[in-house]
Subunit: 268 residues, 6 copies
């Protein structure tokens, strides 16, 4: 993965990917880190169909890549990705793995509570899947309630923020510029482009596709498959290229790094 240049205006020194992966740190290193920074990034994805040519892991792969790049630039720790998300409506397509909303709510609740216990006060969830948004927000409210109910000393200072990389304004603007209406709403060229940048082997799946079924509201899995027989919602993912993907990674990381810095700088 080519690394786009780091933001030069950030107060925190940029770091290496190894240094900011929580998985590669020891607990004393985390204790030391917490003396300087109370922030942490949690990548949240999904494991679900992305059309006839897209990778099932698109939402988790992209969320994790953006999270690591934001973490690297800002010097903020990144937890491992929660790769299973809320994808009930995609269960009509083979390979989709979905957590029920109540399950995902419990997962994010427990993750936030664990982190708050150690003294993390700014939980920045970088999300790659629209279907997670509602449940993640509900989980934040539940976690705040639990932190108070359990009398955690940091309950008052705890804050959670959801950052959907694919909805960052510069990302959406560039997608519109590159693909216009054909960006669509699921298995979009922008997210597919990012996966091509991250996993070159995926390029082999790219091929022209017929006109997709138009986007529309989302209901149950049978309804979804009937209305979107190949899984796409108004998108032409074959417009995507790995070069575009590198651009999207940089745009998303730049936008979210700013959001994260502001989040960290908010006074308690």
């Amino acid at each position: 993965m080519t690394q786009p240049e780091a933001l030069t205006t950030l107060p925190r020194p940029a770091s290496t990917t190894e240094a900011i992966r929580l998985q590669l740190r020891s607990w004393p290193e985390v204790e030391t880190y917490l003396q300087d920074c109370k922030g942490v990034i949690v990548p949240l994805g999904s494991t679900e169909q992305h059309g006839p040519t897209g990778a099932i892991g698109t939402d988790a792969l992209t969320a994790e890549a953006v999270a690591l790049e934001v973490g690297r630039r800002c010097g903020v720790l990144v937890t491992p990705a929660q790769a299973f998300g809320m994808a009930e409506h995609h269960l009509g397509f083979a390979g989709t793995v979905s957590l029920q909303p109540s399950t995902l709510l419990a997962v994010l609740h427990d993750v936030v509570l664990s982190l708050a216990r150690h003294g993390f006060e700014r939980i920045f969830v970088i999300n790659g899947h629209g279907g997670n948004i509602a449940t993640a927000k509900a989980a934040f409210a539940q976690a705040h309630a639990s932190a108070a109910a359990r009398g955690l000393p940091q309950a008052e200072r705890l804050r959670c923020r959801l950052a959907n990389w694919f909805m960052a304004p510069p990302v959406m603007q560039k997608a519109r510029e590159l693909y216009g209406e054909r960006e669509g709403h699921h298995a979009t060229p922008s997210e597919i482009a990012l996966t091509l940048h991250l996993e070159p082997s995926l390029v082999a799946k790219q091929r022209p596709l017929p006109t997709p079924a138009p986007a529309g509201p989302i209901h149950g899995p049978e309804d979804f498959r009937r209305r979107h027989p190949d899984g796409r919602m108004g998108s032409d993912p074959y417009l995507a290229s790995a070069t575009d993907g590198a651009l999207f990674l940089d745009l998303a990381a730049t936008a979210l790094s700013s959001d994260l810095e502001r989040f960290l700088a908010e006074e308690a």
Copy 2:
């Protein structure tokens, strides 16, 4: 409550408020109704502080009023309101009653499943509280999953839609026009205006207030109260008038009636 003129373009004949309140119908009447219409409206509110001069019931009173007006114009049944919503972050203010996200999720899940069992296929939830949005959407996904898991014959045709009256474009535009920046984000003049229209006794509480604390992201109840000491988020509710409220009711009902008609007309 003065009734604004009905939409003339609706295919379904307008009705009376009595006729569309599910509470005032008998079960054979509902059976008959279902032969013609599979739609139903569920008002969803909250019971939470609305600043030093606003009514605690604002979100439920307004959601119910808009729901009844939309139901009347479209001839669609309206269930009783769920007046307790997700208001964890307002629990620092006396009188707030909150359901945890997991509880509200279960409530809406059960309501949707009950209605689906009878053959309702278009559940239109008219919501008066931003804090409910995430949980309501999560509940819809969970209800779809349950309907399928239980083998309900209508599982495939079931659809749920969340309609936030205060976010209807004509409502937001008018609020900006009338109050500009002072509309704010909680205890807003637009919602307070609607309560003044619905409950004239509330006018007595209106009085000038100091500059409100600015809006910001929402965390736990202690944090909320510390940053918004009188409960308002950037709003000047004393700008509201009952006349404005009547206007907002009409604008909301007009916009949501169109949305509902389109929802009912969607092909299965």
Copy 3:
């Protein structure tokens, strides 16, 4: 609604309906109220079939009316009604909306905990539906356990009481006097009478009905519908009149006001 005369023996001054509706109060008003009175009334109903001529909202409409009248007489705050209750056994009839027992348990638990957090110490639930009784009592026990587990300072002084208006001795005695055996057990003339008093439009549904199926124990929804094909359990609701309804409202409010006053006067 004609207001029966207030009890003259109550120590607390009677109030207006507007004054005691929590929905119409602001949070500073609730704070002030709590300095004098730690009591609050929660109306609990159900949304379920009430025979071929009765209103689906009977249990919620009547519980709320009795609650407001008791609140007015005693000067005690009344929350909005929880109109969806536990009505699993009525789900075989169109229009019934039921919360599972575990869901209703969570709702009442959260409502009690919210109120206790503000300093309310006497939660008086006025209930209109027999099917809610078991779950409401279970919820009170769960709420006591949670209040203690969360270390709420008022946990020790918190008390919940369930008041079923239709089981108040003067109400049952009058119903027996007026209707004898034909009072029955579901869609009873006494509750229907109260709805006729509250909602005159319901009178139009009244008509003679064939002999009802006899009351019996309650099991699942299919069993219920098979044994009670029109939804009634041993009742002749066409005996009801709005005049009777006004009487029942007064009797219930008188009896429950006394109960509430005793509840408030119990020493901690």
Copy 4:
């Protein structure tokens, strides 16, 4: 345990205790049994303080003894007792073990569903503890809902009944006759008498006690202990004798055997 004489009017032949204990049967014997009888008895107790001289197991020991005697007389299978019940309010006294209402609800739900799956259609729960009543009834409603949701073939014919032995009219009448007001409401002489009959070693604990705290409504555990410092509610358990206990066992078994026979004879 002396066995009181069997009812002579029962259609089903009386049996031995060994024969009706589900624990002592093999699965083919249960299959054979189900060809003739769809009934089963589930003893439900509690493990909680019973005053300064009463046994912590009182409610489970008595429920199980009555259940075995009813089962023996009627020739109906008896499952093992669920000895842990809902006793949150007794947790202030050492030795009390309580399931939260939501837990007990799940236990009874699962027990009923298991039995229904095998073809049992009449579940007769013999209960020894007032605190279980609400939750048990809620569990029955939840079980009915689940049986239907899971499409169990016997869902329509499934029936659950709660039989509280200590509230059987002949039992209550005899207790009043023997002890008058001093029967009280918890750690009562009648239930203590039955334990003395069942477990002679308990007689050694009997001794005169000071006047008990009066009975009253039940709230949280701290409140309970403060108001009932030795655990009794208005009862004088030292009035009890093993001879009385044998009588109570016979009265309870006679009354509940009739109830059970009627329950089994109800047409589907």
Copy 5:
């Protein structure tokens, strides 16, 4: 039941069965007990098919007998047995009663929390069923988390231990010695032997059986029944005798008494 000789090396004096049954103690006796000993034994069984000749109660009867014998020898209190366990995979055979894993988890969680509240610090669960092991261990972890979250003063000193009597090395060695390969894995001669010792009436069911289906991994109930048509897994239970059973009881009680003593002696 003949009592095997007590271990002579135990520091705590042996006791009588009456004295160590929690059900036969009063709360002041438990308070006194806790001044000397923080340990308690919880018998955990199951109610499930044990082959064509075995008793459905095998796992609960044996767990309770071992628990009482261990308690008697060590002078440690024994709660009543939780006779319903996790037996989902046996639900294909009549008479099996199963708690779902999530339910059993809640039961054991609540039992441990109740005991911890009183000051018990060593919870020794004597288990008779392999299917309970996973859930019991999960419940211990959940109970530790809750005890800390609720701020129980003894949270830090609380310890739970699972003791599966049938897996005690001397028991397994003796079973192999007596029955070799024909011990099998379910409805084993060793556990059946113990039931024959405890309940002589069970001997009448014993008879030669055809070669059992071999043991194998456990999946759903239909799969289990298809692969193990008479419920046995590789076992020849007709090899069992009551005399063997008395031996197994002694071996198990000896081994588990040592384990318990070590557990009690662990420094906090």
Copy 6:
């Protein structure tokens, strides 16, 4: 990562890592795959302290690496890892993230149900953390129950298997051979070795450490930290080398590949 040579005896052709990562497949590819193979591998890890020099991600990194190697050799699909597991007892050390047992149970239940819905019949969970074992097994039982309750056509053929790579006999034997007693029980040289092989940057953390606290039973987090102040349980992780790690990967993959092949070959 150097790839150890593939097993030559496997009937299924070895594959590439790209080809067996579910995240890199499209849904039609999964549909095609299912025509030949009903197996799938789910890596399950944990995110928890591993002593003063070990990586917090050890359990997830190793589980995923073994899973990918087994998948590659056997040509079986591998889902993304569930990197958050049950680590309540490690929460006393900074950086640990834990799901409560009830949450992890729900996650694995939903994952298995999702996969079963598509027709997967052999779910092989490769686990890197002892603390997950109990909950994972409980989840399998719950998933079997749900699959049957929901009437999934494949419910009868569904099988789940837990494979703990660190307990594979050749792995344990080699660890004993290399490190003897100093292997210990948490933050062991064998698992640390594997992480050194996978992530060379971790070598920099390696350093001699004082004698570790001995292993012992696991209770709550405070107890754990008090007894194991640096997080190790009897282990000397500085004995580990990347070369050892490559060996452990090969041994684990060889053992688990055989297990998986047998699992796939089991007749339904």
